[in-house]
């Protein structure tokens, strides 16, 4: 039996800003630009928007005022990296429930121009007296475990950074475009050992907008619709005091969210043409591959060797360069990239004949979304 939520919502517009250092503007200015770009992209009139999701924007009501919106439905999300999957799924659910028909999702980040560094006094936690801080350090703890448990090496981890940097070089507007090698990775400075600078995401300003509508209206617009075909979720909060950390690499949560998404979408793992994985730090890419079952547990290091996850490989991942090299839009830009790949026409970075693309965020709020061509 077809899942009742399969293909009930579609992405009909996407908009992004330039990515970089923009001290002259703020979240509202950037989000407004992304919103205008998404409306123009989809040939959508502003009055058609009756739902609003905001994330990492100081005031949702001010955002609505700036854009002249009185939505039928809205949702405000905190400025955490794991909110993009949540927002898109909630928008699809609101549409399926009839709470809204066309939802604009807005995300903005001004971390570069405001010198956000995601550690120390900026994000106090109970481990400060021992000097433990920052999400990257939590990923370093996880990657050390992965090395010890499975023999994974930093050279294998380098494959992730090298592949995504190559993709960024093919992506207009990507922040980091100069190609890197495994040796560059291995000689980059340590931040939290065993992780090095090239294992860490960028910090840059920018904004993203996606516009999602009811499937039966999706064909009335300028772009071919991209269907939200399936999604899944699983949260793990029981070790939340060690932020961004999971002793088991969120393995079972990712497996469960992936299974839900595949079943809803009616696709098999072998149908996935490309994978967009939340890559705040390179180890999560390995955790995502294992959780989703693209390789056996513990073997993601070997799996990524030799270009498997690069364009032209068996499973292209983060074809825009991801957070590591394109832009730190906390998952939102990866969902836009899934849409752009399914529309086609992306030149040298196009995944050939892409029909099914999966997004996953291996985080305390694990989410996965499967998009297909409409």
């Amino acid at each position: 039996m077809t899942h009742p939520l399969r293909n009930q919502a579609a992405v009909i517009g996407v908009g992004t800003t330039a990515y970089g250092n923009f001290p002259h503007t703020d979240e509202y200015g950037l989000a407004a630009e992304a919103f205008r770009n998404a409306l123009a992209d989809g040939g959508i009139a502003k009055h058609q928007i009756d739902g609003l999701v905001t994330c990492r924007i100081p005031s949702y009501v001010r955002m609505g005022e700036i854009l002249g919106l009185d939505p039928a439905w809205s949702l405000t999300l905190p400025p955490h990296g794991r909110m993009s999957g949540i927002g898109i799924i909630e928008a699809a659910l609101a549409i399926a429930a009839g709470q809204a028909s066309t939802v604009a999702l807005l995300y903005a980040n001004i971390g570069r121009s405001r010198r956000v560094n995601y550690g120390g006094e900026e994000s106090p936690n109970i481990w400060d007296p021992w000097g433990f801080t920052s999400p990257g350090a939590a990923h370093a703890l996880m990657f050390r475990r992965h090395m010890e448990l499975y023999g994974t090496t930093t050279r294998q981890l380098a494959e992730v950074s090298v592949a995504f940097r190559r993709h960024a070089g093919l992506t207009p507007g990507a922040v980091m475009r100069t190609p890197i090698t495994i040796e560059d990775h291995e000689t980059a400075r340590f931040i939290t050992e065993p992780l090095r600078l090239l294992d860490y995401c960028l910090i840059n300003d920018g904004a993203v907008c996606l516009i999602v509508t009811k499937a039966d209206r999706a064909r009335d617009h300028a772009q071919p619709p991209v269907m939200v075909s399936g999604f899944g979720a699983r949260d793990r909060f029981r070790s939340a005091s060690i932020p961004n950390f999971d002793l088991e690499f969120w393995h079972d949560a990712v497996a469960e969210a992936g299974r839900q998404a595949r079943e809803m979408a009616g696709v098999d793992r072998t149908d996935i043409d490309a994978l967009m994985a939340y890559d705040n730090f390179s180890p999560t890419v390995l955790f995502s591959l294992e959780g989703l079952g693209f390789c056996p547990r513990g073997e993601a290091g070997r799996f990524v060797e030799g270009g498997t996850i690069g364009l032209g490989g068996a499973l292209p991942m983060n074809t825009d360069g991801g957070h590591l090299s394109n832009s730190y839009m906390q998952g939102w830009a990866l969902n836009v990239e899934a849409v752009r790949q399914l529309r086609g026409g992306n030149g040298a970075r196009q995944v050939k004949d892409a029909r099914v693309i999966q997004y996953v965020q291996a985080t305390p709020c694990t989410r996965s979304i499967i998009y297909t061509r409409g």
Binding site: P129, W130, G131, A137, L141, E148, S241, I242, L247
Partner: protein
């Protein structure tokens, strides 16, 4: 010279932990109703939701679950210590703690037994740290 690293923020729930550390004891919040041990402490037991909690000294040896070295200092007080070691410790009762690995770390491996070492960093604050057993 005054101590320049971050100190624990005042927190009534954590007070018994810091009192214990100052007295050379590593304590963990434990449920009187179901015996679940948990850290950091909460107002109720995460297993059975009983508010009836006590602090017990940990029994068996803790084990090393991960370790890293910070080459970046997010506080000026850690600048001269770089690279400094941080470890993930599992108490015999199950809870995870983040701390510092002191002494020779050459024998570090997953699951290695540890012993607690008490570092009195100020007259009021003693930090439990860990060394390979």
């Amino acid at each position: 010279m005054s101590y320049a690293k971050p100190l624990p923020k005042p927190d009534p729930l954590m007070a018994p932990f810091w009192d214990g550390a100052r007295a050379g004891r590593l304590l963990v919040q434990t449920c009187r109703a179901c015996n679940d041990a948990h850290f950091p402490p909460g107002p109720v037991c995460p297993a059975c939701l009983s508010p009836d909690q006590e602090w017990k000294e940990t029994a068996g040896p803790p084990t090393l679950q991960s370790w890293v070295r910070f080459h970046r200092a997010y506080w000026d007080g850690f600048r001269d210590d770089r690279p400094y070691p941080v470890c993930l410790v599992q108490l015999a009762e199950g809870p995870l703690l983040v701390s510092n690995l002191v002494g020779d770390a050459a024998g570090a491996r997953l699951g290695a037994e540890l012993r607690v070492v008490f570092d009195a960093v100020t007259p009021e604050v003693t930090l439990p740290k860990f060394a390979l057993a």
